[in-house]
Symmetry: C2
Subunit: 200 residues, 2 copies
DNA sequence: GTAGAATACGAGCAATTACTCGTGTTTGTC
DNA sequence: GACAAACACGAGTAATTGCTCGTATTCTAC
């Protein structure tokens, strides 16, 4: 996935460049969206030349993939629950998952440009697989704990519905002013709780 | 909004061309998405030259806008309820709205390429305004009837949440195979019913 | 029938953009 | 210090694409 097929031995300087580039890419994707973000703009934002960018990433999609891996790592470090303690209610379980997800989305403007989109060119699907799988797996575990009686098919479908409900409302939440955002988060949590309770 | 500032008097031939172009645009948008669909490809699909296309639309965005207007018209003709008869239950009211919306999405593959996207370039927002306003207004009427006690702010928020829940699940529903689609539609309806019942 | 408007063509322009390549500099290793 | 590998540059290239323009044909109004 990296720039070279036979791994090049990165120097400290090179690793720092990769960080710069991924940061610049995240910002540029966040500002302009994936397709409108040009590789030259990313390089400029990172303070390097276009040629240097391609020393570390073999193409634009490779940048998206690396960024996706980085987001997946960061997400792995985010607790989406009550941290081992059994949640008292469904409400508190949902709340404990939604709050950090919203924070993550707010803190990473490039995230939504890559993942919070319904239309995605086939080439991008593969690039963003790391994050999707990370989240999907964790949501499945959470839903299975809440609704242990579901069979595989029903569980899978419920997970998909939950993820799409969250994804559908997230742009609204992130874009809203502070006061309205709190209200929207309550709506999202309420819709999830109500939905999960309604599962037979 | 049309190609010319001082309206040109369309002949029957011209109106037929506009129909061809909008049909070709809808198909091309549906296949490739808005940005990847080239005007030359639309012209080719419509069986005309690029030059002819620009006799009727001043640019690509103008095509999207005209298509949006057409979708808005078609949607106006779609009954999103029980047709004057008071619905017996919340379930039946939701069902009566969701079924035709899903059908419309399935029948118009270009629709999702324009509207069912979370990231939308600013230039496109204006182009798709006709459809958004049409749907928004009708959903507001429906929600206000179901939840007459909501004040303006709560009503508006509830409408937004409902629309984004539908929009979030629609790609899943449209893409699913027949058997799974029926199950997903049930999930969407159940989540909407549960959410609306949970509104204080 | 004729003038003018509408329709039609398609080669090609101007701008954009992902990416390359020749060249030069810095770093790690011995 | 010498050598190779990593890093860096940025002008340039090939391809794409939205759109134009000169020209030719068809329709409508009178």
């Amino acid at each position: 996935m990296s720039a070279d097929s036979q791994e090049t031995k990165r120097q400290a300087r090179g690793r720092a460049r990769i960080d710069q580039i991924l940061l610049a890419a995240a910002e540029t994707f966040g500002d302009l969206g994936y397709e409108s973000a040009t590789t030259n703009a990313i390089a400029a934002r990172a303070g390097i030349s276009p040629g240097s960018l391609y020393q570390f990433f073999k193409n634009k999609e490779d940048i998206a993939h690396a960024l996706s891996e980085r987001y997946a790592e960061q997400l792995s470090g985010v607790e989406l629950g009550t941290g081992g303690v059994e949640p008292a209610t469904l409400e508190s379980a949902v709340h404990a998952a939604i709050v950090p997800i919203v924070e993550f989305n707010r803190a990473n403007p490039g995230y939504k440009a890559l993942f919070a989109r319904t239309d995605m060119p086939a080439s991008m699907r593969e690039a963003v697989a790391p994050v999707r799988e990370n989240l999907h797996g964790r949501v499945r575990v959470g839903v299975a704990r809440l609704l242990p009686h579901l069979d595989d098919g029903d569980l899978e479908r419920t997970v998909l519905v939950v993820m799409h409900m969250v994804q559908g409302l997230m742009p609204l939440i992130v874009a809203a002013p502070d006061a309205e955002r709190a209200a929207l988060i309550r709506e999202l949590e309420r819709s999830l709780v109500a939905y999960l309770r309604s599962v037979p």
